[in-house]
């Protein structure tokens, strides 16, 4: 018995060997990938593959290879790319996924299906929409940045920190794609060929699973995020608070949101839905070129002006949302939760049109810097 036992153990170790091994050195890492829609409905996948050449001391030299392939499905294009590169294609450490504008305008789920189905894919990868073609962004040569993935990842992270984008990743948008009462926004990027840079260009509004083609601009994005209670590490906004400055610069004030608190309250009467959005902000005035902000009267005046403008701006945001039926605030979900009967009656496609938004914005200026 014992002899047989040893034989079995030795066989298990020696014969199976490293059967399941997936050696890290034998893979080609894909850190950034982009999907575009071709005119005939095929998918064009572009990936950037970094290779580090070993050096005896310190970090080695880095080389980037950009490969693209056209195929029927994303998996098909992956296989095609795999045939063009050394080692095997590994998307499990993907950092950024870019989606071209045209592809985003169609249903977004089908191209992402490959990520959700594979247990090894990195669902933590950041996702963004590119105006024009995603491949352009990936092919962009930026001298100062070693890797496009690091550049894009850093850019998106920074936008998240400054309350410009909600920091969506593959995992987070998945639930929202299938949820009728809740929609999402993705950061919108634009390639600036002349300066050879990629710029953040606001938020792309999605309805259900597809890009509506309408965006929130950068300033609207910040306010929308604050209204939705998604403040990042910092949030800053600049407003024109007066008309009488000697120079143009003197008309403006920049506020830094120190603490914000938003509460969305949904009520119904019949099939009419009303959403009261209460935003309370404590702000610091961090730039006021005109100076002389020492009197209470002056502060009050600015405060009043800010409130007026914020309310006006949020009305504009609501109008845009209603127009595209992009329920970023999750009003539908709240209705479904609190008033299921009303939700049953509502038209799931266009319910946002009939929702009345009542913004109530209150600000407290608690500091105006270390000078008056």
């Amino acid at each position: 018995m014992l002899k047989k036992g040893w034989l079995v153990i030795i066989c298990i170790i020696l014969l199976t060997g490293c059967w399941d091994q997936r050696n890290f050195k034998n893979v080609k890492l894909v850190l950034t990938a982009g999907f575009d829609l071709m005119e005939d409905g095929q998918i064009n996948t572009t990936v950037s593959l970094p290779t580090i050449l070993r050096s005896s001391d310190g970090a080695g030299q880095e080389r980037i290879q950009v490969v693209s392939a056209i195929g029927r499905t994303p998996r098909d294009t992956r296989d095609k790319i795999d045939r063009k590169i050394s080692n095997s294609f590994a998307a499990s450490k993907l950092e950024v996924l870019l989606v071209g504008e045209e592809l985003a305008k169609q249903d977004l789920y089908p191209p992402l299906d490959v990520f959700y189905r594979d247990p090894r894919s990195n669902l933590n990868a950041k996702i963004a929409v590119v105006k024009g073609e995603a491949s352009e962004a990936i092919r962009l040569k930026i001298e100062q940045e070693s890797r496009i993935s690091k550049y894009l990842g850093g850019l998106l992270q920074a936008m998240e920190n400054t309350t410009h984008s909600p920091g969506e990743n593959l995992q987070l948008i998945c639930a929202e794609m299938f949820e009728p009462g809740q929609d999402f926004v993705l950061p919108l990027l634009r390639v600036n060929e002349e300066a050879s840079l990629i710029e953040y260009d606001g938020l792309a509004l999605f309805n259900e699973r597809s890009y509506t083609g309408k965006d929130l601009d950068q300033e609207e994005a910040v306010l929308m995020m604050l209204l939705n209670g998604q403040k990042g590490k910092t949030a800053r906004m600049t407003f024109k608070v007066r008309e009488d400055g000697k120079q143009r610069i003197m008309n403006y004030a920049t506020i830094h949101v120190y603490r914000s608190n938003s509460r969305i309250n949904v009520t119904t009467s019949g099939s009419n839905v009303t959403a009261d959005i209460k935003l309370h902000m404590r702000v610091d005035v961090i730039e006021y070129p005109k100076n002389h902000l020492e009197t209470v009267k002056e502060v009050k005046k600015i405060k009043k002006e800010l409130k007026k403008q914020l309310t006006q701006k949020s009305e504009e945001i609501f109008a845009k949302l209603k127009d595209t039926n992009s329920d970023v605030f999750g009003i539908g979900r709240r209705v479904a939760a609190y008033y299921p009967d009303v939700w049953k009656q509502l038209d799931k496609k266009n319910y946002l049109e009939n929702v009345t938004f009542n913004p109530d914005i209150e600000i407290v200026i608690q500091q105006h810097g270390i000078i008056n």
């Binding site: 018995m1 014992l2 002899k3 170790i13 199976t16 060997g17 490293c18 059967w19 399941d20 091994q21 997936r22 050696n23 890290f24 050195k25 893979v27 890492l29 970094p50 290779t51 580090i52 050449l53 070993r54 005896s56 970090a59 080695g60 880095e62 499990s92 450490k93 950092e95 090894r120 990195n122 890797r147 990842g153």
Partner: protein, 511 residues
């Protein structure tokens, strides 16, 4: 196991065992004739050249001794000076002399360094203790150094060792028992324990096991260890060796038993638990917060020492997804062009480290250092430059080697380094799952292991919350008022109320 038992269990062994302990002490009455006595003794001692026969009183008496064992000065002082002083007429009358009429007994004492005086016409043999002793001073043992506390260490003479213990533990309950083990070597084994604290069952068990050893030679406690331990096939040491009297005394006071042998400075402590190997006298000499911190680091080193190479192999070979985003390209860069799979890489590096250690350990110190530098710096650097092994693997293996030496006990440190290998294989075949399996085997074994009938993995399994106070952490001494239960002490209370003065002083202040 039945297979092996059948092979090794022949009737022969049992017969010999049965006849072993019942052998009677040989007797040989001495003769009246001097020459007959001398002839018997010299013949029995095979005419060894260092056996000196000094003829005295014109051939009417003789003094026999091993010149290699006897101290000439003692001989002079104990016998000849006494006679010369005129106070005693005959050597036979000398008060130091021990009389016997048994030649076999005289033979034995001769071998321990006594001188035997034989006289014509008398059957009385007089033995004088003139053994010469060469003792090392009680220096600090090099493998158990401490920063604070006693710097004394045991030496090769067991009497001096007992003296060191008795000086520290002046209580009548401290008991020593002598055993003669080894048919040819006749080694003196000493069992020490605190009567009234140590568990009598354990003492009985140890006594029985020592008595049943019928080996021809017992050289050291390490030799003894394998004869009496519970599971000789386990990688874990089931007795703790120490060369420190303070450590020995502390263990005696916990109700443990000490085993010492003539000719060896090492004392064996038993029964032991796994966590005892991670305790050092330093913990108790320093403040309890720092003691706790250092002990936590030591226990962490256990995980690093056995698991780090396996963990690294599992990541590189199976689950590179767990690497953080910022680390992935540097890691990839360093392993991209390594020729071997990670498991081979790890084995090469671990074996290189073991080679360096083993070669350095026995060389004279200046050369040992050179080997350390050549091995550590030159090979470590060159092997990375040549692209044989990635620099990360060098870091991992070096860290593992350092972590294995953090354990205060040398035996356990060897065990740890050996346990690395199966885990490397497990990780190389199954990745993280393999590590889980390997760790599981080790844990199961630790839970099952016993040291003289006491649980080895106590106080974790079986769990005893109270004893955890001195396991992962070292709480203030006045809280450690009960002895750990694993050694089954008869008397469990160790410390009474000792900090009552704080209350009294507070009351006085209030007044």
């Amino acid at each position: 196991m039945g297979f092996f038992r059948k092979i090794f269990q022949t009737g022969e062994g049992q017969q010999e065992k049965a006849s072993g302990p019942s052998v009677k002490e040989p007797q040989q009455p001495s003769f009246l004739k001097l020459s007959a006595n001398i002839d018997y003794l010299t013949k029995a001692l095979k005419n060894s050249s260092d056996l000196k026969v000094r003829i005295l009183n014109d051939g009417k008496a003789a003094l026999l001794y091993y010149e290699s064992l006897a101290d000439q000065e003692k001989l002079q002082k104990k016998i000849f000076s006494q006679i010369e002083s005129g106070r005693w007429e005959e050597v036979l009358d000398l008060p130091h002399g021990k009389h016997t009429e048994n030649l076999e007994e005289a033979l034995k004492t001769l071998l321990t360094g006594h001188a035997v005086y034989v006289q014509e016409g008398s059957t009385t043999l007089t033995q004088f203790e003139v053994t010469s002793q060469f003792n090392r001073s009680v220096e600090e043992p090099i493998n158990e150094r401490v920063v604070r506390g006693s710097h004394e260490g045991f030496v090769e003479n067991v009497m001096i060792n007992i003296n060191l213990i008795r000086k520290r533990l002046m209580h009548r309950d401290l008991t020593f028992q002598y055993f003669r083990v080894g048919k040819k070597t006749n080694t003196n084994i000493v069992l020490a324990f605190m009567d009234g604290i140590a568990d009598p069952n354990i003492i009985e068990q140890v006594t029985n096991r020592i008595k049943s050893v019928t080996s021809d030679a017992i050289f050291s406690p390490g030799y003894m260890e394998e004869f009496i331990e519970d599971a000789p096939f386990s990688p874990f040491p089931q007795m703790m060796s120490t060369e420190r009297p303070d450590r020995a005394v502390a263990n005696l006071m916990d109700g443990r038993v000490l085993l010492m042998a003539e000719g060896s400075p090492t004392a064996l402590v038993l029964p032991v638990t796994f966590f005892m190997f991670y305790q050092s006298p330093d913990d108790y000499n320093s403040r309890w917060i720092s003691g706790t911190f250092i002990r936590l680091i030591r226990l962490m080193s256990f995980i690093i020492a056995i698991g780090l190479p396996a963990f690294y192999i599992a990541i590189i070979g199976f689950h590179y997804e767990v690497l953080p985003d910022d680390l992935i390209l540097p890691v990839k860069g360093s392993i991209n062009e390594i020729a071997y799979p990670p498991i081979v890489e790890a084995l090469i590096m671990v074996i290189i480290v073991e080679l360096i250690r083993e070669s350095g350990i026995r060389l004279p110190q200046p050369i040992g250092q050179t080997i350390g530098i050549v091995g550590g710096l030159v090979i470590g650097d060159a092997v990375v430059q040549a692209g044989l092994i990635s620099n990360l693997m060098v870091i991992v293996v070096a860290l593992t080697a350092i972590a294995s030496f953090v354990v205060p006990s040398y035996e356990l440190s060897t065990t740890l380094r050996i346990l690395t290998f199966p885990l490397i294989f497990f990780a190389g075949t199954l990745g993280f799952v393999g590590i889980v399996f390997g760790m599981l085997f080790i844990l199961i074994h630790l839970c099952k292991l016993e040291s003289f009938g006491t649980p080895y993995f106590a106080p974790v399994a079986p769990l005893r919350i109270k004893d955890l106070k001195d396991t992962f952490v070292r709480l203030p001494l006045f809280w450690l008022d009960k002895r750990p239960k694993d050694a089954k002490p008869v008397k469990s209370k160790a410390i009474g109320e000792s900090r009552e003065w704080t209350k009294i002083e507070r009351q006085q202040k209030r007044k």
